[in-house]
Amino acid sequence: MKTSQITKYLFKRQIVILGEMYLVTFAAIYILPLLLSLITGTLHDYSFVQILKTSPITGFFSFFMFVIATLSYENFKFLIQNGISRKTFFEAQITVYGLFILIGNTVNLIYNYLIYTPMTNRDTFNIFMTTYAKFFSNGIITVIFNFIFSALTLVIMTLIGMTIGSFLSLFSKTWQRILLVATPIIGGVTMIYIINALETSSLKMTWVEHFAEFILGYHRSGIYNPFPMMAFMLLISVIMLAIVRYLFSKKQLKRE
């Protein structure tokens, strides 16, 4: 199998896209306000630290992974042209995303701990630190589990992107447009209806509340336990990986 060659190809191609996304975001968040301040003569109001506090660039990484993960069809076209099976494509793609998550997550946490926190005096830079940091008394253990928790979050965002991208790639461009427009509308309307129905209904959905408390690791003391959530994320990841594998096996060249 040609998994290593395809891993190299996909890594080379997608690291460029990732780099471009970071550059654009960096320019939009940090450089653009500076330029606007210069032009409008309000440089005294520009605060790099303030921007850093409100828009940590590391938070965008999961969004970038989600976006890149939706773009599977373009790579599929080139690979099927060159005799690469869907199985090899899937394995190589998972390897590349795994590498991105490993590297990206490491860089993010180093940046957050060594640059962001000292500059802003804030250590609640991600969901784990906000919710679960108090569970561990040892700082090193906290960092390790922060790494694992953040990685799992990135894995899920990536797999959601792969699922959506692979699912949509099974349809023609016309149907993709219909699905992209109709799904949020139908989803939104359905959600509103359900919420309204629950509010007026006598049916007590206490099991939902209990389930959420369990998954979130809620404790009366206010110290949340991260392990149920991590186990849940791991389970969801495995299920989604199987779904993505199935969707990859169904990819075909579209008649366009």
Binding site: Q5, Y9, F78, I80, G83, T88, R255
Partner: protein, 292 residues
């Protein structure tokens, strides 16, 4: 010797049956012509053979191994078609490098020579190529990758007459230098008739003919003479078409002639592959399909 087998492949798009129980065998080191009218199912067949789309039933094998999820076998086959599967923003050199990375090797010497001959700038971006140069670049790739089966779907689309001639010449040269199997799907039958060793005719999703060209042409007979004599001579034979020129009648026969006596007023000769193809795939008065 490698063998590419298509076994009982059928494919429908919606309610339209595009391929119906197609079975073919392609041997190594031959040049096949895959002929068929528009909508006959040629491109669909080639796409199924390279696993770009799935057949509804049947399978494709190389050396008795299914090609599905099989890099080793898929890597032996390359399809050049009008569909653009390369990133538009990449330069041609970049695409060559990526292709080499995947195949493990690439004939750069041949690629550079062909690019020079066709006046193709390899630093151009793929998305900026004209239709003709798009085809030329893809043809160059097809001739330079280390595969055993090269499938060409309308290879000369958009090429001017000079470039077409150059392509055919290069095809023969590369086939001589590095024998492998070529399967050429084309409408320009006259142009490929002298290149191909075997001919396959696909009509309405079914195989009508699958034989060596020599054998096929040996069975073509145009019977020319006065109508009465020609009709009398060809009575009981497989007449697949006819032409009238005043009082002269030409009956086109496909099949073996028996030992009946040839009248002095009637002449026999062979007719070409294009004419045979037109008659076999046309429905008109006095003709019937020849079932292979």
């Amino acid at each position: 010797m490698s063998v590419l087998e298509v076994s009982h492949v059928s494919k429908s798009f919606g309610s339209k049956n595009v391929l119906q129980d197609v079975s073919l065998t392609f041997d190594e080191n031959k040049i096949y012509g895959l002929l068929g009218r528009n909508g006959a199912g040629k491109s669909t067949l080639l796409n199924i053979m390279t696993n770009r789309i799935f057949a509804d039933t049947g399978e494709v094998k190389i050396d008795s191994e299914r090609i599905n999820d099989n890099d080793a076998k898929l890597g032996l086959i390359f399809l050049m078609s009008e569909v653009n599967l390369y990133p538009n923003g990449n330069t041609l050199n970049q695409i060559v490098a990526d292709t080499e990375l995947i195949y493990g090797s690439f004939n750069h010497q041949l690629a550079e020579r062909l690019a020079k001959e066709f006046d193709l700038d390899l630093t151009s971006k793929f998305g900026k190529l004209s239709t003709g140069y798009n085809s030329i670049f893809k043809l160059i790739l097809a001739l330079c990758v280390p595969v055993k089966f090269v499938l060409l779907d309308e290879p000369v689309l958009g090429l001017d007459a000079n470039h077409r001639e150059m392509f055919y010449s290069e095809l023969i040269q590369t086939y001589t230098d590095n024998p492998r199997t070529f399967i050429i799907s084309t409408h320009l039958i006259e142009e490929v008739a002298n290149l191909i060793s075997d001919v396959i005719v696909l009509d309405e999703g079914r195989i009508m003919l699958d034989q060596p060209v020599e054998d096929v042409l040996a069975k073509t007979h145009s019977v020319v003479g006065p109508q009465k004599d020609v009709d009398a001579y060809t009575k009981g034979l497989n007449v697949i078409g006819h032409d009238n020129m005043g009082t002269i009648r030409v009956n086109y026969v496909y099949g073996d002639l028996d030992d009946r006596r040839l009248p002095d007023t009637v002449q026999l000769s062979n007719f070409d592959l294009q004419k045979l193809f037109i008659f076999l795939t046309n429905q008109f008065e006095g003709s019937r399909h020849y079932e292979n």
